[in-house]
């Protein structure tokens, strides 16, 4: 897993085709809204508990397949972090400032 890349608002990684991403949130409702956002942009998204190897917190995350870490140019404020799922672990694509 690569080290965290911390930036607010903009997604630091360029788009790549059909990757799997997981986003974690500060609230369950934030996850519901993000899932709808993904679906609005034609990406199949699923709500699920945060995987243990991603975080020690036990909240809700959204997992989706897409060509970008976020369907929109800037991340909603409810997003805590977005990671790309790799065979060997995760690569952090976005982390909210001061989180």
């Amino acid at each position: 897993m690569s080290p965290a890349r911390s930036r607010t608002g903009n997604i630091p990684f360029p788009s790549s085709s059909e990757m799997t991403y997981i986003a974690t949130f500060y609230s369950h409702f934030g996850a519901i809204r993000y899932k709808k956002l993904c679906q609005l942009h034609g990406m199949a998204a699923t709500l699920m508990p945060v995987p243990r190897d991603l975080s020690s917190s036990c909240g809700t995350c959204v997992r989706w397949e897409g060509d970008a870490p976020c369907p929109e140019p800037s991340c909603p404020e409810e997003v805590e972090q977005i990671v790309q799922v790799l065979e060997a672990g995760y690569r952090t694509c976005y982390r909210a400032e001061n989180s």
Partner: protein, 362 residues
């Protein structure tokens, strides 16, 4: 770790925790109370003089161990992270009322399982209330409930709560004359395992709970939200292993570890309605807090100051409960306690509504 491994590890952790909880009774803890986060925080509050109920005063090393076990494992796994700033006073108030709900029922969700494993059928009323409380909380979660985000804090903030536990341990071992203790035979506070046994049990359970994210509330919440059984498997494993261990101890020793009945259960009353409502309040409040009292201790150990504030709220709630006659006893609930539980449900509802349907902050 894939989902299958996560399920296996939580099943094993739950089984170990259930056995430890049962053995703690064998080593001296009150019956059906190998672990009870609410009772043990209440006893600790009493030992520190925050309330004067002489029957329930003792610094419980299990609590110290739970926090330090979580702290040490999080430190070793580089998961220790000082965080906070998510509505700390709201969490304090929720903690107060969760404790009042628990002391109406006479136990936290963890003890509710252990009471079931000891054959206490009153806990079924508590379990029904607990599930209803969680469903009420989930209703608000789905409609936008949030206490807003947490923020990274200075490193010391994340370690202070663990340091406080060390201070409590030093007080217990080196300066007990400064503390209040229940006299021998004077109540549940006088029944305890040896300090080292209690501390070791807490350390092991704290580490296991940190690793598996075991949470009595999270299990039912995730089942409702995602049809995901992982966390609830821990709940079930504790029940099964504690039950098995109790049955073995029942057969192998002259003492009673399992007694299937409503009446005559240790540190319990038979008022089904108030057992139900007490745990409804506890379950509702815990969903809004994001975890049961055990989980709050574990998160405090990981450096979450919001959870530490919740634990302080739980201790303040215990002090209020005993100073104002809100806590139940084996005789049943008190009139003050009934008023406090109804008030608590109203306050928790108000907190849920205000943090769900309010207009967007400026």
């Amino acid at each position: 770790m894939d989902l299958r491994k996560e399920k296996t590890s939580i099943l094993l952790a739950g089984a170990v925790i259930g056995i430890i909880a049962s053995l703690l009774v064998f080593f001296g803890n009150p019956a059906n109370m190998g672990f009870c986060i609410a009772c043990f925080l209440r006893d600790t509050a009493g030992a520190l003089g925050l309330h004067s109920a002489a029957a329930v005063q003792y610094i419980r090393p299990e609590i110290i161990g739970l926090v330090l076990g979580s702290f040490l494992l999080a430190l070793g796994k580089k998961e220790l992270s000082a965080r906070g700033g998510s509505a700390p006073l709201t969490r304090f108030v929720l903690g107060v009322f969760v404790m009042i709900g628990c002391l109406m029922f006479l136990g936290c969700p963890f003890r509710m399982i252990l009471r079931l494993a000891g054959g206490d059928l009153n806990a079924l009323f508590g379990l029904a209330g607990f599930v209803c409380g969680i469903l009420a909380g989930v209703f608000f979660l789905k409609r936008g409930y949030t206490l807003k985000r947490t923020y990274r804090l200075p490193v010391l903030e994340g370690r202070l709560f663990a340091c406080i536990q060390v201070v409590l341990l030093v007080l217990l071992v080196a300066a007990p004359s400064l503390l209040r203790f229940t006299q021998s035979g004077g109540g549940p506070g006088a029944k305890h395992a040896a300090i080292l046994i209690s501390l070791a049990a807490g350390l092991i359970v704290g580490a296991l709970a940190q690793r598996t994210r075991l949470c009595m509330v999270g299990g039912i919440r995730d089942l409702v939200l995602f049809r995901e059984t992982k966390l609830i498997l821990g709940f079930v494993a504790i029940l099964v292993s504690a039950l098995a261990c109790n049955l073995i101890l029942n057969a192998a020793t002259p003492d009673t570890y399992f007694h299937l009945s409503l009446a005559g259960q240790p540190v319990a009353h038979t008022d089904g309605l108030w057992n139900f409502l007490g745990m409804l309040l506890a379950g509702f409040g815990c969903v809004l807090l994001g975890g049961c009292p055990l989980r709050q201790l574990v998160l405090s150990g990981e450096g979450n100051t919001d959870s530490a504030m919740t634990v302080i709220g739980l201790m303040a709630g215990a002090a209020f409960a005993h100073n104002f006659g809100l806590a139940s006893s084996g005789e049943g609930p008190t009139a003050n306690g009934k008023i406090a539980v109804i008030l608590g449900i109203a306050v928790v509802c108000a907190i849920a509504c205000l943090n769900t349907f309010r207009k967007k902050d400026a």
